[in-house]
Amino acid sequence: MLSWRLAKEKVMSGVMFFITCASLLLVVAMGIGLCLRSSPILSEISLWDILSANEWKPAKNQFGFFPFIMGTVCVTGISIVLALPVSLFTALFLTEYSHSQVRKFVYPVLDILAALPSVIYGVWGTLIVVPWISGWLAPRFVSEYTSGYTVLAAGTVLAIMILPLLVSMFVEIFSTVPGEMREAAYALGSTRWQLSRRVVMKKSLPGIFATVVLAVSRALGETIAVLMVCGNLPQVPRSLFDACYPLPALIANNYGEMMSMPLYEAALMLAAAILFIVVLLFNLLSRIILKRVED
């Protein structure tokens, strides 16, 4: 009886270990697979040429990634710039100003917002943000007509998407500031804002940085919602009201279409590999900083 019990224990722990290893290996395998599949184009054109070239004409074997990279960078940058102050103030409001009743109501709402499928954000962006930019905002700043499908629209939608993530992570970080430290600052006569700015945010600075890095890695990879509102024109955006074409949208829009052209497929695979590596690096960086903060 006893040995049977022990045997089961052994088997189960073995199975779980195997499954855990398998899922880790899967990540490695995906990375290797992407690199292998993108090797055909790298043997024809150097990586640097691909990354820096402006022209995207697959029919003429011109695969310039630069517009897509700039599209990704601009959209991500705008989303962070828009979302960071809003999320900081929201998190400060929740942890330092609001009543616990408010928190009990807001935290679940944040979780729901974070769990919404991104296509919903995309639809919302198409219905609200795009017409608002083309009809109201753009005419106030530029003379020529804009469709509204712009870097700004993509950045705005993305900002709203990463907002719940940022807020809940900031709330968590601010909550680790010890109550005694708050008492010490209040006992000297701090206002809540002075406490928030000089103590809570100061103490949380590394955590805030790590959170932003994590949000960047999330924003870099976001596909559907961005693709629906960014305009999908392979050009380097010159203003907020230009259309753009980030890397994930490029892959999602074209993969599976022109598989007859081997170089085209390899180019898309290379885009995926780049995305994979960058997102992985940002994620790791964020985790390393957070780990440091905890110790």
């Binding site: 005694e180 008492e183 209040y186 006569g189 701090s190 000089r198």
Partner: protein, 274 residues
């Protein structure tokens, strides 16, 4: 005169105080009662905390000593479900009724030394200067002088003068507690509250901080919650004995410790309960 004076060369000169402290204000309570979620924690407390004396609040653990201290500077606001009735006065100001604006000034006038030292996340210099900065003292020269003066006051100057810009958490626990004391002195309070301020310290640092309080009573009025009766006996001028949220006995240290009137006080002092 050199344009830039090295901080560690500054002397402990006297300088004009940035605060308008108009004499000494009395701190006293009138029929103060307090409940948390319906549990009565303090019952009808009427007591005066004398100026320029050390008043020790003693009593068994859980009797409401910390709660009483937190009512004086309204840190009790951070606890949920608190109901206060009665009054606490600092001079003419009713602390219980004070709005948020008045509260920051009241908290400046009533300093706190916490149970465990808690440096703010900034440098040694920044910790001392923090209180002054939040109350609007901006001039670097003035801040420098304040930092030097109060680090001297707690005997920390020679130990830290060469690392004023390094993080305060790098100090030993005993040094941190003196830093916290200097930090609350820097905004020139009239009263200083200390809640078991030496309980987290080793005996040596504990002695240093204790001696500091005795020296400081010349300029400040000190209200201490003590975790050991021995400490109270060593340094108290006045003693308040609280039991189950009620004041059982108050008086000079001699009266309470050597001629207690109340049966509960006698039992407490003889160690029947603690």
């Amino acid at each position: 005169m050199p344009l830039f004076q090295k901080l560690s060369d500054l002397k402990n000169e006297d300088f004009a105080s940035p605060w308008a402290n108009d004499g000494k204000s009395r701190l006293y309570t009138e029929n103060l009662s307090l409940s948390i979620h319906g549990n009565r924690i303090l019952k009808n407390i009427s007591v005066e905390l004398p100026c320029n004396k050390i008043t020790c609040i003693v009593g068994p653990s859980g009797c409401g000593k910390s709660t009483l201290l937190k009512t004086f500077n309204r840190l009790i606001d951070m606890t949920e479900g608190v109901k206060i009735s009665g009054n606490v006065f600092l001079g003419n100001e009713n602390i219980v009724k004070a709005g948020f604006d008045d509260l920051t000034e009241i908290r400046r006038r009533i300093g706190l030394v916490p149970q465990r030292p808690c440096p703010l996340p900034m440098s040694i210099y920044g910790n001392i200067a923090y209180g002054c900065k939040i109350h609007g003292v901006r001039k670097r020269r003035e801040l420098n002088r304040i930092v030097v003066k109060y680090l001297n006051e707690v005997g920390l100057w020679n130990e830290v003068k060469n690392r004023l810009r390094s993080p305060a958490v790098g100090l030993s626990i005993g040094q941190q507690q003196r830093l916290c004391l200097a930090r609350s002195l820097a905004v020139e309070p009239e009263y200083i509250l200390a809640d078991e301020a030496t309980s987290a310290l080793d005996p040596q640092s504990s002695k240093i901080v204790e001696d500091l309080f005795v020296r400081l009573k010349e300029k400040y009025s000190i209200v201490m919650v003590t975790h050991t009766l021995h400490q109270a006996m060593r340094i108290a001028d006045y003693v308040i004995f609280i039991y189950m949220g009620e004041i059982i006995e108050t008086g000079t240290a001699d009266e309470v410790f050597h001629h207690p009137k109340h049966e509960l006080t006698k039992n407490y002092l003889s160690g029947v309960f603690s």
